[in-house]
């Protein structure tokens, strides 16, 4: 196990290096960002001066080598727009995005499992048909449209939930301010519901279909028939025997799910004015704030590598046939 983890961590270094190289080249393919950091009326001399201040006057390979050298020392560079360490800017927004993603993932998982299981158990009935039709609709709705509809009807029309904004929960927890986190909890959940549902809707629908098909396959296996023949209750058969094996493809999906949800937050964070890292990166790309985008990309890459590792370990735990090493 530990050998496997160590090997995967080493591989992750290669992944992160590759990601930095690709993103560096891609960002610089857009041309010189200096123009975005000078006044409309700047002279050629002033543009050149600013280019030197920002470090874009050097050849690209030198810029990349400098970047990697500093990255190895934990220096992600300074954000061009915020003029503060880029990693600080990213990490400052990260708790809000993680809150939203975890909340959405919880909806996507915990609502999908019962829907998928019930659909499988009642295959071909009206319950199954309704659930799968809803799932199809859920996969067809664009998140920006759903978000705006929820704002208009639930936020503005019914006034049940806040239209936009954020009440921090994870951030005070990380900083050890438990009283603040506790006080913010009700408001934080209220603020999470609309964006969380918007992000989760697509995944919820997909996961429900996945759980259903996986369950259908398992329910026809001999061991399930044997469990029933032994006189076990239907609950035990479904939850203890069938669902545990139906989990395997679903767990693989959930590993990727977190990444998928993270990538989906850009639009939703914008619609709901959620102060997360998705919106930050979107704005940074528009502003050509290369160090900031790079810092976010590295953090995302590390997170993905870590999540895949966790998924692999979880997979092995769930399926004894799989051995890591």
């Amino acid at each position: 196990m530990w050998t496997f983890i160590a090997r995967r961590l080493l591989q992750s270094l290669v992944v992160v290096f590759g990601v930095t190289l690709i993103s560096f080249v891609a960002l610089h393919m857009g041309g010189d960002p200096t123009y975005l950091y000078v006044s409309e009326r700047a002279s050629q001399e002033e543009i050149q001066e600013t280019r030197a201040k920002l470090g874009f006057d050097k050849p690209l390979h030198i810029q990349y080598a400098t970047y990697i050298e500093r990255l190895a020392q934990g220096d992600f560079g300074t954000s061009l727009t915020y003029r503060t360490p880029a990693i600080d800017v990213v990490l400052e927004r990260f708790p809000a995005t993680i809150e939203l993603t975890l909340f959405a993932m919880s909806i996507a998982i915990f609502a999908a499992i019962p829907i998928g299981v019930i659909s499988a158990l009642y295959r071909g009935t009206a319950i199954d048909g309704t659930a799968m039709t809803m799932a199809m609709i859920g996969q067809s709705l664009p998140s920006f449209w759903l978000g705006i509809m929820l704002i208009l009807y639930v936020g503005l029309g019914l006034r049940w939930l806040p239209i936009s904004g954020h009440s921090p929960l994870l951030d005070p927890l990380i900083r050890g301010e438990f009283a603040t986190a506790f006080a913010n909890f009700p408001s934080a959940v209220e603020h999470l519901i609309l964006p969380g549902v918007t992000i989760a809707f697509f995944s919820l629908a997909r996961n429900a279909r996945l759980v259903r098909s996986s369950m259908l396959e398992v329910l026809n296996q001999d061991y399930v028939r044997t469990a029933r023949a032994k006189g076990l209750s239907e609950y035990t058969v479904v939850v203890a025997h069938a669902l545990r094996n139906a989990w395997l493809p679903v767990v693989t999906m959930f590993g990727l799910e977190f990444g998928f949800l993270l990538s989906g937050v850009v639009v939703v964070e914008t619609i709901f004015a959620w102060p997360g890292v998705g919106r930050l990166v979107f704005n940074a790309i528009n502003q050509r704030d290369i160090p900031l985008v790079q810092a976010a990309v590295v953090v995302f890459a590390l997170l993905f590598v870590l999540l895949n590792l966790v998924t692999d370990i979880l997979y092995a735990k769930l399926d004894p046939r799989i051995r890591l090493g």
Binding site: G30, G31, D32, P33, Y35, L36, Y37, V38, S39, E40, R41, A42, S43, Q44, E46, I47, T50, K53, L54, T81, Y82, R83, T84, P85, V89, E92, R93, I148, M149, I151, L152, Y153, G155, L156, G157, L158, R159, I163, S164, G165, H166, P168, T270, I271, F272, A273, P275, G276, R279, L280, N283, N286, Q287, R288
Partner: protein, 517 residues
């Protein structure tokens, strides 16, 4: 899509519960974009300066009517050669760190922004200082500060009025990070907190006596999506929002909660005729190098109809780059007269060929940088094609593609652009053409008559004479037409019913002008 959204919004607005009762001492505003810094020497965008205008003071202040009036300084004197401006401060000014605000703080503020070691790239060092060739600031006494500039410049006072005065004791000790995030102000409001991408909160500065703050608390919320901003406005959660989509005006106006107020901004929207040598290798490029052709093309475009149909805004066509009230009022906008356009093109020797084409041009435009930009460019392309000038319109991504093209003067031969103007001096608006080689002369227009008038302008200090000269420059500009004159970019503000505020053309939001019913 827009219509669907509008219909749904209308239905919801009618069904919506009444707006929440709001605290009369708290004003909430929302702009689409968060500040990237609150360092007074680094701010570069209007949304940032809107906040800092209320946190920091300036020596003089630019009003909504374009008048420049005393603020932290009560008077000024200019040396005979126009290079030394001595400002006398009001007595009793105080920094928000508790120290007295003196000429030393003012000198420090000006010199700090110019300090090369601090590598500032904001509006003050990047634009103000280069415009007036700032040299240095020196405290002459507790109340007198001298600002030294390269040479006399009629726009110097307005430019100096953009520099925020901050406090030496605090800023000399601050790290760049703290200076960007935890401003110590000198104006009517004090900084409370900044939750990135969410809100910035100010509170009243009780020690500020020059123009006491009206609100106990001011919240600047960041809501990037236009529909969400409108929903928050209609819910009574914000009082002023910027950049409302015009298709939502009718719906908002029909609600009991708010209204949308459109106003022509100061940004000049135009199509430039790029006369750079590289474009002269085509018939179209050669044609637009001639003023008679450029003038002819002015008649081909129906600007008021473009404004009404594509921008949902009633506009009058601009006559020159100069914003009202400093424009040459004797100039009349080019009318829409395609027959006249065709006649002038015939006279210039550009007759239609068998396919009905006189010559071909490419019109490059940004896509999404300015309100309705690509659509307006496409409409202009069609107007030109209608008179036989076959025009191929190519919209481009702004940051990575269009900006480098523009800055290198390589956009064209026709290019769509908007450049910032202001209300306080015609020379400011004309300064895009401060020299044939100026970076902002994206057309590379080089008319010795026009450019020769700058020396006349610099030679006089008499405002009436200066106005006469800038009017002459505007007339010459219209006659030579290096720009296809279009309009001043409209801005749409959403204002709650409890808020009394008249938006300004220059997009500034001075909280002193806002009150709550």
């Amino acid at each position: 899509m827009k219509t669907t959204k509008l219909t749904l919004l209308a239905g919801v607005v009618i069904a919506a519960a009444p707006a929440l009762a709001a605290d009369p001492t708290v004003l909430t505003l929302s702009q689409g974009v968060d500040a990237s810094t609150l360092d007074p020497a680094q701010v570069s965008s209007r949304n940032e300066s809107n906040m800092l205008d209320n946190l920091f003071g300036t020596l003089y202040k630019i009003g909504g009517d374009g008048q420049i009036t005393p603020y932290f300084a009560k008077s000024y004197k200019v040396s005979d050669d126009g290079t030394k401006w001595v400002f006398t401060l009001n007595e009793g000014l105080k920094c928000q760190d508790g120290e007295a605000l003196t000429a030393e703080d003012v000198a420090y503020s000006f010199n700090r922004a110019a300090d090369p070691a601090l590598k500032f790239t904001g509006n003050t060092p990047g634009f103000v200082y280069s415009s007036i060739q700032f040299k240095k600031a020196t405290a002459l006494s507790d109340l007198d500060v001298e600002i030294e500039i390269g040479r006399y410049n009629p726009i110097a006072l307005g430019m100096i009025s953009e520099v925020y005065v901050h406090c030496k004791d605090s800023y000399a000790k601050m790290s760049p990070n703290d200076a960007a995030r935890k401003p110590v102000g000198s104006g009517p409001y004090k900084f409370v907190e900044w939750i990135k991408d969410d809100r910035i909160t100010f509170e009243k500065n009780p020690d500020f006596k020059l123009a006491p703050a009206k609100f106990a608390k001011v919240i600047w919320r960041v809501i990037p999506e236009g529909s969400t901003r409108v929903a928050e406005l209609l819910a009574g959660n914000v009082d002023i929002i910027t950049n409302v989509s015009p298709d939502q005006k009718e719906t908002v106006d029909r609600s009991d909660a708010a209204k949308v107020v459109p106003i022509a901004g100061t940004r000049r929207i135009y199509v430039g005729f790029n006369q750079k040598e590289k474009f002269r290798n085509t018939k179209g490029g050669q044609a637009i190098a001639k003023p008679e052709v450029r003038r002819a093309l002015q008649y081909a475009v129906d600007v008021p109809t473009i404004c009404a149909t594509l921008l949902s805004f009633e506009c009058e066509r601009a006559t020159s780059p100069v914003n009202p009230p400093n424009n040459n009022t004797a100039l009349k906008p080019f009318p829409y007269d395609p027959k006249m356009a065709e006649k002038l093109l015939d006279e210039a020797g550009y007759l239609k060929d068998a396919s009905g084409t006189r010559f071909e041009l490419t019109l490059q435009s940004p896509n999404g940088r300015y309100f309705g930009d690509a659509n307006v460019a496409l409409a202009i392309g069609q107007y030109f094609s209608d008179i036989g000038v076959k025009t191929n319109v190519t919209p481009h991504e702004w940051a990575a593609v269009y900006v480098p093209l523009i800055r290198a003067h390589d956009a064209g031969p026709l290019f769509f652009l908007g450049t910032g103007g202001d209300t306080w001096n015609a020379a400011y608006d004309l300064a895009d053409f401060s020299a044939p080689t100026a970076g902002t002369n994206y057309t590379e227009w080089n008319d010795p008559v026009f450019f020769g008038m700058w020396n006349e302008l610099y030679a006089t200090r008499d405002p009436a004479k200066q106005k006469e000269i800038t009017d002459k420059m505007s007339a010459r500009f219209a006659e030579q037409s290096p720009w296809l004159m279009l309009y001043f970019q409209p801005n749409f503000y959403g204002i709650s019913k409890r808020t009394k505020w008249e938006p300004r053309r220059d997009e500034r939001i001075d909280l002193a002008d806002v009150s709550l019913n």
